[in-house]
Structures are given as structure tokens and as C-alpha cells.
């Protein structure tokens, strides 16, 4: 399964709507990095509103994606993390403090704009 990546001006938008298995997560990581490379995108919003579980593996993939994208010159914002998901992440001891977040896609885009355009 592949997660679709949309391009909007110089940003990439991803809405994760599938139950992520490990392959899908790793494939997504690869696809996103390639897309950043191909488009020269400066910012990425990954919307997790429909995701009802993030375990330590998926958390690691997401954290890695953020760091790798940054290396390639793209800022990533995670949006829409649900309360139940946030609580389980905290229980797991994963607080993702270095990752930028926003309440929803719209605010995620605002945040990118602010960070990139000053």
C-alpha cells in the first residue's frame, strides 16, 4: 500500500488514512524523501487525524522522516494527533520534543509559512 503525497505550491501534504503496517510506513519514508528531492519542497505537513494508534516503530519512522527531511532542507509539521494517541505515546516515553506539531492541516500550513517566510 502507498500513501499519496500531494504537492501544494512549495509544500507537500500527506493525509494518513490507512492502518499503517511496517512496510507501508517504510515505503512512505522513501516516497516522501524522493518527493522532496524531486520537487525541492520547503515544507511538509503530515496529517494524522485518522490515525488511531502509533507504536514505537511508527513513532521512530515518523521521527526519522522529520530529521531526514530537515537534512534535505524541508521542515515537517505533524498535525491532528489524537488525544488517545498522544497519551499512549507519552506512556511509551516518546514525547517527540524536536518535532513540530499543529492542531490541524490548516494551522500546520500557517506554522510552516510563519517559520519559512518569517
Amino acid at each position: 500500500m502507498r500513501i499519496p503525497i500531494l504537492k501544494l505550491h512549495e509544500y507537500l501534504l500527506i493525509t494518513i488514512q490507512v492502518e499503517m503496517d511496517d512496510q507501508t510506513a517504510l515505503q512512505f519514508q522513501e516516497d516522501l524523501l524522493n518527493k522532496i528531492h524531486d520537487t525541492g519542497a520547503k515544507g511538509v505537513v503530515i496529517d494524522l487525524t485518522s490515525v488511531d494508534m502509533i507504536d514505537s516503530f511508527i513513532a521512530k519512522v515518523l521521527g526519522d522522516v522529520v530529521r531526514m527531511s530537515k537534512l534535505m532542507g524541508a521542515q515537517v509539521v505533524l498535525t491532528g494527533i489524537q488525544p488517545a494517541v498522544a497519551i499512549t505515546l507519552i506512556d511509551l516515553g516518546i514525547s517527540m520534543r524536536e518535532v513540530s506539531t499543529a492542531l490541524d492541516l490548516e494551522q500546520g500550513l500557517d506554522k510552516l509559512r510563519l517559520e519559512l517566510e518569517g
Binding site: 489524537q82 498522544a86 517527540m96 494551522q107
Partner: protein, 274 residues
């Protein structure tokens, strides 16, 4: 039950009732000080109680006819004391036994009837106590949830700014509830900034600080910002001397300062009308 008793009870119903009511009223007079309003209003209930007992004696065991059970439930729900039911049943036992004694019958027969009465009444008594303890447990658990929810409300103050005032000590169970209320509130009110006010938290030790840090981390994961306010001097002292690191998110001494900060973050301003 032995036909003889049933027959005797039915024949002497009026006397039994009068004796029963007399004793019940004696009991009520004694207890009235503590339960004045509910007990005073219970005359109709007395009538109903006795009639149901008679009916019950005629139709045998309790399980066949739910009306007694229903009656007990209803009585307990109106706030009459459990004592009223247990005393009422004991008094019923007493007046029936008195009647048997006065009927001048053989010792053996009398003893057998005594036992009959006991085996009729004891299950009813057990049932009453069981019912009431169930009601009580249910009430306690409902109140406990209500109290827990009250204990950590998230209040939307301005557009995209909410406040959670914490009052009292914070243990692990309450910390979980605070976290859930906080996060659900952030989503519900779309709060970009939440102020956690710990003015009312008497002691901030490593454990409490840990819970607060976790809550702030979770709020951040949702995409909102947490500002910790109400840091009294002694709390600042304990936090630093315990080596707790709160530097990862903003803290302010007062709610007012925190609110100014929150307005700044959300690009809002308070305009005075003067």
C-alpha cells in the same frame, strides 16, 4: 408457608396491622430527629409496606413476585433509611410471633411455626440489605466519577485560549484524568494555548512535576502550547532544589502574566474601552 399461619394472619390482619403500625411509629418517633423530613412523610409508605407483606405471605416466596423488591428499591431511592425497612420487617416478625403465642397452642407446634416465620423473613431481610448495598455502591461510584470530572475542568477563556485551574493534591489517578480532560478540551475548544494554573496545588514534588511535564508534552503533541502558571516562590524553590527540569516549556508566576503571553502567541490583544 404453613397454611395454618397464613390463615391466622389473614384472619387477624387488622390487629396485626394496628400492632405493627404502633411499633413502627414508636421506632419513627425515636429516629425522627435524624431523618425528620423523610420519615414524617412516610405514612402512605407504611400502609403499602404492610399490605405488601401480607400479599407476600399469601403468595409465598420472594422470587416469584418482584413487587417487594421493587418496593424496597423505591423506598431506598426516596432516601428513607435502610433501618426503616429492617425495623419494619423485624416488627412484622414480632407481631406475628406475639399472635402465635397468644393463640395458646402446643409447644411443638409453636416452635415449628416460629421456624417457619424465620425462614420466611430472613431471606427478605437479606434481600433488603443486599439491595441497599448495591444502591450505595452505585451511588458512590457515580459520585466518584462526577467528583473526578469536576476536579479538572478545562475552561475556554478567549478564542483559542483555555485555562485549567488545578486545586488540591495530584496523584496518579487524578493525573490521568487531568491529562484526558486537558487533551479532549484542547480538541473541543481548538485551544492553541492552554494555561495550567497550579496556584491551588499545595505540594509540587518530583512525582507531581513529572505528571505536569507529561501533560504538557501531550498537549504539545496535539499541536497546542502549554504554559504553566501560578508558580509560587516556595514551589520554584522545591522545583529547583529537587533538580526538576521545567525549562522545556514556558512558566509564569501568575495567571495574568501567563494570559498576556498566551494572547501574544495567538496574536490577540485586549483593548480597553477607556
Amino acid at each position: 408457608m404453613d397454611n395454618l399461619i397464613v390463615q391466622m394472619i389473614n384472619e387477624n390482619q387488622e390487629t396485626l396491622k394496628n400492632n405493627w403500625l404502633k411499633e413502627v411509629n414508636l421506632f419513627k418517633d425515636k429516629e425522627i430527629a435524624s431523618y425528620s423530613t423523610t420519615l414524617k412523610l412516610s405514612e402512605e409508605t407504611d400502609q403499602q409496606f404492610f399490605e405488601l407483606l401480607i400479599k407476600h405471605i399469601n403468595y409465598h416466596d420472594i422470587s416469584k413476585d418482584g413487587t417487594l423488591d421493587q418496593f424496597f428499591d423505591q423506598v431506598l431511592h426516596t432516601g428513607l433509611p435502610l433501618k426503616y425497612l429492617t425495623q419494619g420487617l423485624q416488627i412484622a416478625r414480632r407481631v406475628i410471633l406475639n399472635m402465635l403465642v397468644e393463640a395458646e397452642m402446643e409447644q411443638e407446634k409453636l416452635a415449628a411455626l416460629y421456624r417457619e416465620i424465620d425462614s420466611w423473613l430472613d431471606p427478605i431481610l437479606n434481600r433488603v440489605v443486599e439491595n441497599s448495598s448495591q444502591i450505595w455502591e452505585r451511588t458512590v461510584s457515580i459520585q466518584k466519577t462526577a467528583l473526578l470530572e469536576l476536579s479538572a475542568p478545562l475552561i475556554p477563556v478567549f478564542k483559542n485560549i483555555s485555562v485549567m485551574p488545578l486545586i488540591g493534591s495530584i496523584d496518579t489517578e487524578r493525573a490521568k484524568l487531568i491529562m484526558e480532560n486537558l487533551l479532549n478540551g484542547v480538541i473541543k475548544y481548538r485551544s492553541e494555548v492552554v494555561l495550567i494554573d497550579i496556584t491551588g496545588v499545595p505540594v509540587v514534588d518530583t512525582m507531581v512535576a513529572h505528571h505536569i511535564i507529561q501533560a504538557a508534552d501531550a498537549v504539545r503533541l496535539l499541536g497546542s502550547t502549554c504554559i504553566l502558571v501560578g508558580i509560587r516562590p516556595e514551589i520554584a524553590q522545591t522545583i529547583v532544589s529537587l533538580g526538576i527540569d521545567l525549562s522545556l516549556f514556558p512558566t509564569k508566576s501568575t495567571l495574568q502574566k501567563g494570559m498576556e503571553n498566551a494572547l501574544e502567541i495567538t496574536n490577540q490583544q485586549l483593548i480597553s474601552n477607556e
